[in-house]
């Protein structure tokens, strides 16, 4: 999927975390929620229009708790930024719920290159402050505060 700060997908919260950045992500399904939360991270990290989707990274995660699975998933994106020097623009997630929730993710982006990409926040960590994954009437909502 392509992203473009679509307010139905995620929304940055202005006065929740003064020194950090908070956002809410939404999704009709868990897959959508995870994808939209990842897209918020992508937008914070760079102008995604300046990133080419030329490299693919795939990984799998599992966790008994869905909220911890989201935390691990978003933390993995930061890990890939600092260890593999990757920024992303596209994401596809497939979650199978069960005793252990399993996640398969495919991320598309490119090696970091400040010459061609407009890079923005070097996110240090996903925090557990206010961290929440909630099932709502029409889907799911997550609240995330990232440490900048």
């Amino acid at each position: 999927m392509n992203i473009n700060n679509d307010r139905t997908k995620y929304r940055f919260l202005e006065d929740v975390a003064i020194a950090d950045i908070a956002f809410e992500a939404y999704g009709k399904t868990l897959n959508e929620l995870f994808e939209n939360a990842a897209s918020a991270i992508f937008e914070l990290s760079a102008d995604v229009e300046t990133i080419d989707a030329v490299k693919k990274v795939e990984f799998e995660l599992e966790n008994v708790k869905l909220d911890n699975l989201l935390y691990d998933f978003l933390s993995e994106i930061l890990f890939l930024k600092d260890s593999k020097y990757m920024v992303f623009k596209n994401v596809h997630v497939a979650i199978s719920e069960g005793k252990k929730n399993c996640l398969k993710a495919v991320l598309e982006g490119d090696r970091i290159n400040p010459e061609v990409q407009h890079l923005e926040n070097d996110i240090k960590a996903i925090t557990m402050h206010m961290f929440e994954l909630k099932k709502e009437k029409n889907g799911y909502k997550a609240t995330v505060v990232v440490d900048i």
């Binding site: 975390a17 890079l119 926040n121 206010m130």
Partner: protein, 384 residues
């Protein structure tokens, strides 16, 4: 946070200011995914985790005197690299020598006569000439320390039930200090602190190289001595007096910094009579302060004071008020040359997003928990 002197005056630096900032913008990488010039191997990185600035000084990235001018001589000796995950190492290994982003910066500042509060102590700290130029660096352990935090947050979450601990915010996940998990974290956190000392130490090496190149003079001749380096986020076992009794306490300074008084046994002999230099960072538009620790901080705040002016406005709100490009132009008109890897990131750091630094200094000064020495005005800035 680190402060370094030069023997140059603003008049001497001003014609070369852009060249200086542009040089260091290249040699001290900042922003998303930047890699530093120290290409450490895994075994070298383990040594850096264990020895901090000491490793740097022994490997050509500093002067011996830098160590006594660093909190704890730039090395936390209870660090144990085995307590750090390989993922944290993977995140941190190439980041030595990078600034990061957010509120991290490298700033060229001027010590003006009208901003001197205590000329005698300023002189002892190496600031003695009108319009003297100094350099301030604010950065830490980068993704490395945060990965250690993330790793142990998850470990603590899993054991809190065992220790009957409940917290109202999951970010406050914890374990008893004397538990295996608590001790493991304490040793891993020390590795992050050592990496932060080392990071600022190798950045200092780059600053010295940059000045040396631009002014075609050795850094020694430019008298680029460190004033001090102090951590902004660290927990340490310290001895304090509680209800008249000496006690060993874990003091966690987060969003605060150490401010030990004259005569404190943990300070190097150099600071025996003055007390520990304290560096309080302000916004990139308004300036920062050098202060000194006091006995009152020891008596009332466990030897601690404020670490910076602190934000009053969220990053998103600041970006709505000004564009980075405009702010950069406005600052240049006011004599502050700023380079940034991200223009939205620059807007987030606008002066109006921060508390008035003078109010913060008045507050810590009136509370008596640190004593102002000199105010430092920015003229050149590198933002991540």
């Amino acid at each position: 946070m680190r402060l370094v002197t030069t023997n140059l005056t603003y008049k001497e630096v001003q014609p070369k200011l852009k060249e200086l900032v542009d040089t260091m913008f290249k040699t001290v990488p900042s922003g998303v995914g930047s890699r530093g010039f120290v290409d450490a191997s895994k075994s070298q990185f383990r040594e850096i985790m264990a020895y901090g600035s000491k490793w740097c000084a022994e490997n050509g990235y500093g002067w011996k005197e830098d160590l006594e001018r660093t909190e704890g001589y730039g090395r936390i000796d209870w660090a144990e690299p085995e307590k750090v995950s390989s993922r944290a190492m993977e995140r941190g290994i190439k980041q030595l020598g990078t600034l990061g982003s957010g509120n991290h910066y490298l700033e060229i500042q001027v010590a003006r006569a009208e901003n001197i509060f205590d000329a005698e102590i300023a002189k002892k700290f190496g600031i003695h000439t009108p319009e003297q130029v100094v350099v301030m660096v604010h950065c830490g352990s980068r993704g490395f320390g945060h990965q250690i935090g993330t790793d142990y947050l998850r470990i603590f979450e899993g054991v809190m039930k065992k220790y009957n601990i409940e917290v109202y915010d999951r970010e406050l996940a914890c374990a008893p200090f004397q538990s295996n998990e608590g001790q493991d974290y304490y040793k891993a956190m020390a590795c992050a602190a050592n990496m932060a000392f080392a990071n600022r130490q190798v950045i200092l090496h780059r600053i010295r190289e940059g000045f040396s190149k631009v002014f075609k003079t050795d850094a020694e001749k430019l008298e680029m001595h460190m004033v001090y380096d102090v951590a902004h986020n660290i927990a340490k076992l310290e001895e304090h007096v509680v209800d008249g009794h000496k006690k060993k306490l874990v003091v966690h300074r987060k969003g605060s910094t150490r401010a030990f008084p004259p005569g404190h046994p943990e300070l190097a002999p150099l600071f025996k009579n003055t007390g520990q230099p304290v560096i309080i960072g302000g916004s990139m538009e308004t300036g920062s302060f050098l202060l000194v620790g006091t006995q009152k901080a020891m008596d009332e705040t466990f030897g601690s004071t404020a670490h910076g002016s602190g934000r009053t406005m969220s990053r998103a709100a600041a970006k709505h008020q000004v564009r980075g490009e405009q702010l950069q132009k406005d600052m240049e008109k006011r004599g502050i040359y700023v380079k940034a890897t991200s223009m939205p990131g620059l807007a987030e750091e606008a002066g109006f997003a921060y508390k008035n630094i003078n109010d913060v200094i008045d507050a810590v000064s009136q509370a008596g928990i640190s004593k102002p020495v000199i105010g430092l005005k920015p003229v050149g800035n590198i933002k991540g």
